[in-house]
């Protein structure tokens, strides 16, 4: 049983407003021998400073930067300790200070949180967040073992060396408690693979039917390959600034009204129960009939306390009352189809036990009330771990600035990555989008951040 003290749930506050001003990406690939990690980071940085309609030149941006945050999940994938120092030097930022952040799959989100803390406190006023991952130096099975070494090596990693299996354990329990049709889970995979078809950056696009997903080979029962995220190589860069600097750099800065983090046990085994932490759109009444013979406790294996905690803090910090109403667009960390449904509940899109309705109702689609993972998500587009949480916010920045088409629809974007823009391309720009949310997620819910962006 977890008990909170009176100050444990204090709502965070920024002393100064924080803005997001520019973003850049590489494309994402399973293997990327053509470019080393330093080059990939430079390419994403150049896109951020050269292609975001900034009012200052790249050289002027270089002279404005006063702190850097680096984001890479796993040193052993790149086989290089302190790779951040190598890249910081390569980008010519010496002797400015920097910090490298590591929180597993949520490394990107945590890096943005770290940069936001620097800007909000006045420590710095122009901060690039630079994330990348290089997962192609080892065969996939070794890569899976590397990822599983981010589970507990004493008590859990040996059991499969496979994170998908740890998620599948939760999936089976979630299904026992909530009985979601397999078709509903497959719908999420189909949606995200399809949206990836409209992204020149995507690694795993495809138009699949529900049948295709259900017939796909199983990795760990019940999850099939098409329901799991990809392993990628690539980079993403995001610039954060205070208000004065932001408006010096661009006419269209987007405000980061909140970014908050939560955690829970690295070992799924060690989760203990507690009363449900309520979001602003829930009351005790919401859950009066929730517990049953099957649903014996919360968070159990069906919910992510870390996601609930991050959303609780961020919603209260940014004044969000009802996420489906208040947000216009959402990026979740869809590492697996099942974890996406769990996240819908953790962040209050539906009450616990009813997450399936968010996808079944059509809300999650481009045409729906809260379009989710128009980027193609981790299932369709990328999971270059250190870049992932940053890429999500870059995509949201462009959506809120009304620049999605500029960064996705121009045929030149496709040819620069050796691809052809598809004939059935469609624009996924959400017209008039004002407020967006991004969830960055690690482990089986060991770290989660919730970021909220708003057009000023």
């Amino acid at each position: 049983m977890i008990r909170f003290g009176p100050r444990n749930l204090r709502i965070p506050r920024f002393e100064k407003p924080v803005y997001v001003v520019a973003g850049g990406l590489t494309d994402f690939r399973k293997k990327y021998p053509e470019k080393n990690s330093s080059q990939l980071c430079t390419e994403a940085l150049r896109m951020a400073v050269e292609e975001n309609d900034l009012k200052v030149s790249p050289e002027e941006v270089r002279r404005m930067v006063n702190w850097c945050v680096y984001s890479q999940f796993a040193d052993h994938f790149g086989d290089q300790l302190l790779a951040a120092a190598k890249i910081h030097d390569y980008l010519g930022f010496d002797p400015l200070g920097n910090i490298e952040v590591k929180t597993g799959g949520a490394t990107g989100g945590s890096s943005i949180l770290s940069a936001a803390q620097a800007v909000a406190s006045g420590y710095a006023d122009c901060v690039p967040v630079i994330g990348w991952e290089r997962m192609d130096e080892v065969p996939t099975k070794v890569g899976n073992a590397y990822i599983a070494s981010a589970a507990c090596k004493d008590f859990e990693s040996e059991l499969g060396w496979m994170y998908a299996a740890y998620y599948a354990l939760m999936a089976q329990r979630y299904q026992y408690e909530n009985k979601v049709p397999r078709e509903t889970l497959a719908q999420i995979a189909c949606k995200n693979h399809e949206y990836a078809c409209y992204s020149p950056y995507s690694q795993n696009p495809g138009k699949y039917t529900i049948e295709d997903v259900l017939k796909n080979e199983v990795v760990a029962d019940p999850l099939s390959f098409l329901e799991c995220c990809v392993m990628s190589v690539g980079a993403a860069v995001l610039f954060l600034a205070d208000e004065e600097t932001a408006y010096k750099m661009t006419d269209q800065p987007i405000r980061l009204t909140a970014i908050c983090g939560g955690t829970h046990t690295l070992r799924t085994a060690d989760r203990r129960h507690m009363p449900i932490l309520l979001l602003p759109n829930e009351t005790e009444e919401t859950y009066k009939d929730y517990f049953s013979h099957e649903r014996t406790e919360w968070p159990g294996f069906s919910s992510f306390l870390a996601s609930r905690m991050a959303a609780y803090l961020a919603y209260n910090m940014a004044g969000i009352n009802d996420p489906v109403e208040d947000f216009d667009i959402l990026e979740t960390h869809d590492a697996f189809t099942i974890s996406d449904i769990q996240t819908y509940e953790d962040i209050g899109l539906r009450p616990y036990g009813r997450g399936r309705e968010f996808i079944e109702s059509g809300d999650a689609y481009f045409e729906g009330r809260l379009p989710t993972n128009l980027s193609g998500g981790l299932i369709g587009t990328m999971h270059a771990v250190g870049a992932t949480g940053i890429w999500q916010v870059v995509e949201l920045l462009w959506q809120l600035q009304g620049k999605w088409d500029k960064f996705h629809a121009d045929p030149e974007r496709w040819t620069r990555y050796g691809k052809k823009k598809p004939d059935d391309f469609r624009s996924l720009q959400v017209e008039g989008a004002k407020r967006a949310c991004a969830i960055s997620h690690a482990g089986t819910g060991s770290h989660v951040t919730c970021a909220i962006l708003e057009k000023p």
């Binding site: 021998p33 070794v142 008590f155 040996e158 060396w161 599948a168 354990l169 199983v218 019940p222 070992r267």
Partner: protein, 157 residues
């Protein structure tokens, strides 16, 4: 002073870009530290858990995986033999494990609910097909122990 190379080379996998194979072969000397009792216990056919010794601490249940210090009050814990029967809380059968996995596949992973234990230990079902709620009992690999968590598994009770 003259310096000589040792004569080994990195295998070239691709000419342009130049891709080479870096050979890695090293082991880690890993200590279980205070948790050693648990792993030694498995070799002896015992399932050892821990309980907080602080009378003022709210958490009276057993921890499994064990903790030498309590998460709620940071006080020392004591070792206690846990029941060797439980129920399957959840399960998943692994078909494509990561490279170093030492067991055959398909391998049903299970999380085990044990009375008086506040956690749900991850393990595997050595025999049979798993179902949520199924009673199971612990079996210990005492013959040729791996000295890892794999020395504990479960079978239908």
């Amino acid at each position: 002073m003259t310096v000589k190379l040792d004569g080994t080379t990195a295998e070239v996998l691709n000419a342009d870009p130049l891709v080479i194979k870096n050979q890695k072969s090293h082991f880690h000397i890993h200590s279980y530290g205070g948790w050693s009792k648990f792993f030694v216990g498995l070799r002896e056919g015992k399932l050892l858990a821990t309980r907080c010794t602080n009378a003022e601490c709210d958490e009276k249940s057993l921890w499994l995986p064990p903790r030498c210090e309590c998460a709620d009050c940071w006080h020392a814990t004591e070792w206690v033999e846990a029941p060797t029967v439980g129920k399957v809380y959840t399960h998943s059968t692994v078909l494509y494990p990561g490279a170093p996995f030492r067991a055959s596949t398909p391998c049903p992973l299970i999380s085990v609910e044990i009375e008086g234990v506040c956690t749900k230990l991850m393990s595997y079902l050595k025999e049979g097909d798993p179902e949520i709620g199924m009673p199971v009992k612990a079996v210990f690999n005492t013959e040729n122990p791996t000295n890892t968590i794999l020395d504990l598994s479960w079978v239908p009770a």
